[in-house]
């Protein structure tokens, strides 16, 4: 039996004043950023004050939204006279991960301590590397935007992680690290004012410290120690901060949209994501399936179409019709395969609402293109 998924009512989500955050997540290359931008535009045109936070948009999409630089500041894309009495606004920003990190340090440390951290080689490397920092900073920025209360809807596009779930884990991981035992080992020498402090620790700690010195070298260890000591004095409870962000994501005003393409790998990832969000008690709104191929003559099956093409070929007539029929058969096959992928998903997750967006021949280049995607999402 073919299961039909409930339809995802995008406009109901966008129009609900209680929806404050929409998180678009999914594997790479499925059109997450485009979906986020299209949702933002549609929400703004329906009268909401929206900011789209994007992590790494393709150049042309960024241009479509009028973003020319990575400057970590929301830029106004357009103002519209919304459907109701309210005036909608669309802002967009690109995350600058290093600047976001620097700003946290500057906001929370006294100038001398901030300088110590910002010039530390280990910090400089950490703040510009991709190892989880991007995810962490995306979530940090989301928290900041939410707390500022300047927008009534934030649409966020998650980073292109190696694992699409990194953004859920990164804050927790960084928090765990900064509050963990390792930090205490690393901080010990700095606190006691010398390397001899390792001796004060128990044998297990001492051994680990020894290995660390041996493998990463004394200078690096000192950099890390200084960084951690300075940072610890600034934050104390880094973990607490991570937990705040996490709770923000669990709040009822947040809607997660899993984005996928109707292909095996992307749908599998989407399935995994849906399960993971449920485990974490994160509010899932539904699944967006992009790039769906829809045949325009669904009544003419692939089999009939191919057979007719063969028949014409054999008779040596209507060459063009035969070629068009083969083209149609290919399209029907592709559509059937895509349909199967979605059915797999729906049999595993029968209650997850789905919205489909048909494949477009061309990438989106401008607001008109985004508007069109928004309409398709909502229809």
């Amino acid at each position: 039996m073919t299961r039909t998924a409930p339809a995802l009512d995008i406009d109901a989500i966008l129009d609900d004043p209680d929806t404050r955050i929409i998180v678009c997540c999914g594997s790479g290359g499925v059109g997450k950023t485009t979906t986020a931008a299209a949702l933002g535009l549609r929400a703004a045109e329906r009268g909401r004050s929206v900011v789209v936070l994007t992590v790494d948009p393709a150049k042309r999409l960024a241009q479509a939204m009028g973003l020319t630089e990575l400057d970590n500041t929301p830029r106004r894309v357009l103002s519209v006279d919304g459907a109701g009495k309210r005036r909608g606004e669309l802002h967009a920003m690109m995350l600058d991960m290093k600047r976001t990190f620097d700003e946290i340090i500057e906001a929370h440390a006294d100038p001398e301590r901030a300088r110590q951290i910002l010039t530390n080689p280990f910090y400089q490397s950490l703040s510009s590397s991709f190892s989880g920092t991007q995810e962490y900073m995306a979530m940090e920025k989301l928290g900041q935007l939410r707390r500022s209360n300047e927008w009534d809807l934030i649409v966020v596009d998650t980073p292109p992680s190696r694992s699409a779930l990194d953004f859920l884990d990164a804050p927790e991981r960084l928090g765990r690290f900064l509050d963990g035992k390792l930090i205490r080992i690393l901080m010990a020498p700095a606190k006691a004012g010398g390397r001899s402090a390792f001796k004060l620790l128990n044998a297990g700690f001492g051994m680990v410290a020894g290995i660390l010195t041996k493998v990463i070298g004394a200078q690096v260890l000192r950099d890390i120690q200084m960084f951690v000591t300075a940072l610890d004095a600034v934050f104390g409870g880094f973990r607490q901060r991570a937990e705040q962000t996490y709770r923000l994501l669990q709040a009822p005003g947040t809607a997660f949209l899993v984005v996928a393409a109707p292909e095996r790998d992307a749908m599998r990832e989407a399935s995994y994501f849906v399960e993971r969000l449920a485990d974490e008690r994160m509010p899932l709104a539904g699944l967006v399936v992009n790039r769906v191929h829809r045949p325009l003559v669904p009544s003419l099956s692939a089999a009939r179409s191919s057979a007719a093409a063969e028949e014409l070929d054999a008779r040596g007539e209507h060459e063009l019709t035969a070629a068009v029929l083969r083209l149609h058969a290919g399209r029907m096959q592709l559509a059937a395969r895509e349909q199967r992928q979605q059915e797999h998903f729906t049999s595993a997750h029968p209650t997850v609402p789905i919205a489909q967006v048909p494949a477009m021949p061309e990438d989106v280049h401008d607001l008109e293109g985004l508007r069109q995607i928004g309409q398709l999402l909502a229809s």
Partner: protein
């Protein structure tokens, strides 16, 4: 298959005349959704064909190889997963940075049985997820170790290693390990290790390939990736154009359709002749709908042509892989491997 051409060092396999003779490490990158894992798997099969031994590694913990070959998740262990046409072997390894780190400590420092302590104290977590660049050095380090590894007779253990690498947007950074660990280690053992890895990655024994679709964004990312690799002095390999659809219609028909001048009247006659419509009105309706499909196809074909021209400018070897009607299942992988061999990629 051609005769051996020149020296292939101590390769145990039979030499052949391919575009990448002498390359032992094939790094396969590509934008998300382009089928990079599928192409890496097909390339491994193609390279193994005719009695060679090839290792296929994955580095992002996604178990993509297991899924491509329809196997249960792979452990951190080199195991045979497929037999290539003509009797070669494909081995696979899912590199886990934590395991790689413990192995590394044991191999280079003789530090044993500290795994639990390190894990408990968060050292492993720190090294593999937080310390900038360290994770990448660990996985590229493990990969290059497999490339260099020799058996007791001094022969290379693998004829080639294929890496299912991170996506195009991250690839230059991922491979530019010395730079990546610079903040962590300017001198000392990590720096030394990174230099060793970099030596293999930047050598003519390595080729970094890109998988793309004939679509604007993947092509742009491919061109950017090639540019970035060239800037960092890493060896650019070929471009694998995946999921290529046949044009299916004559050029002039496509051109007309692009400009909205496709003759659906002729199509309607054809449909009637084929017995797909009895009534003329039906035939016209179907023909018009089919004409819209043709128009969409024509527009896409036109765009694909443009992207192909953009790719040509990169000046690298290109290979076409067809769109498989049934998707890239196991049979599909062998079909793609065969296509790669025919085109000289392996």
């Amino acid at each position: 298959m051609s005769q051996p051409t020149g020296s292939r060092g101590d390769s145990s396999g039979e030499a052949r005349d391919t575009d990448w003779d002498g390359v032992r490490l094939h790094v396969v990158s590509g934008k998300g959704g382009t089928g990079k894992t599928t192409v890496a798997a097909a390339l491994a099969l193609a390279l193994a064909a005719g009695g060679r031994k090839v290792l296929l590694v994955e580095v992002e913990g996604r178990q993509g190889i297991a899924q491509a070959f329809d196997l249960p998740p792979l452990p951190y262990e080199e195991r045979k997963i497929a037999v290539a046409p003509g009797g070669g072997d494909v081995y696979a390894l899912a590199i886990d940075p934590e395991e790689a780190m413990l192995e590394y400590l044991e191999m280079f420092y003789g530090i044993k049985r500290v795994g639990k302590a390190l894990t408990r104290l968060g050292v492993v977590d720190f090294a593999t997820t937080i310390a900038p660049g360290l994770r990448d050095v660990l996985v590229t380090g493990k990969t290059t170790e497999a490339v260099r590894r020799r058996d007791k007779q001094g022969r290379r253990v693998y004829d080639a290693v294929v890496m299912d690498a991170p996506p195009t947007g991250r690839i230059a950074r991922f491979l530019n390990v010395t730079q990546e660990v610079a903040g962590l280690a300017r001198v000392g053992p990590i720096k030394h290790h990174a230099d060793l890895v970099r030596g293999v990655l930047a050598s003519p024994e390595t080729a970094v390939h890109f998988v793309t679709l004939l679509e604007e964004m993947p092509v742009q990312e491919t061109l950017d990736g090639i540019e970035e690799l060239r800037e960092t002095g890493l060896p650019v390999g070929g471009v694998f154009v995946n999921m290529v659809r046949p044009a299916g219609l004559p050029e002039r028909v496509l051109e007309a359709a692009c400009r909205g001048r496709f003759d659906s009247a002729e199509l309607a006659l054809g449909l009637k002749a084929a017995g797909l419509a009895d009534v003329t009105a039906d035939a016209s309706a179907i023909a018009e709908a089919l004409a819209r499909e043709v128009a969409e196809h024509a527009v896409r074909t036109e765009l694909e042509k443009r992207e192909r021209i953009a790719l040509e400018e990169a000046g690298v070897r290109r290979y076409d892989l067809p769109l498989l009607p049934e998707g890239a299942d196991l049979a599909g992988l062998y079909e793609l491997a065969d296509t790669l061999r025919t085109q000289g990629a392996a």
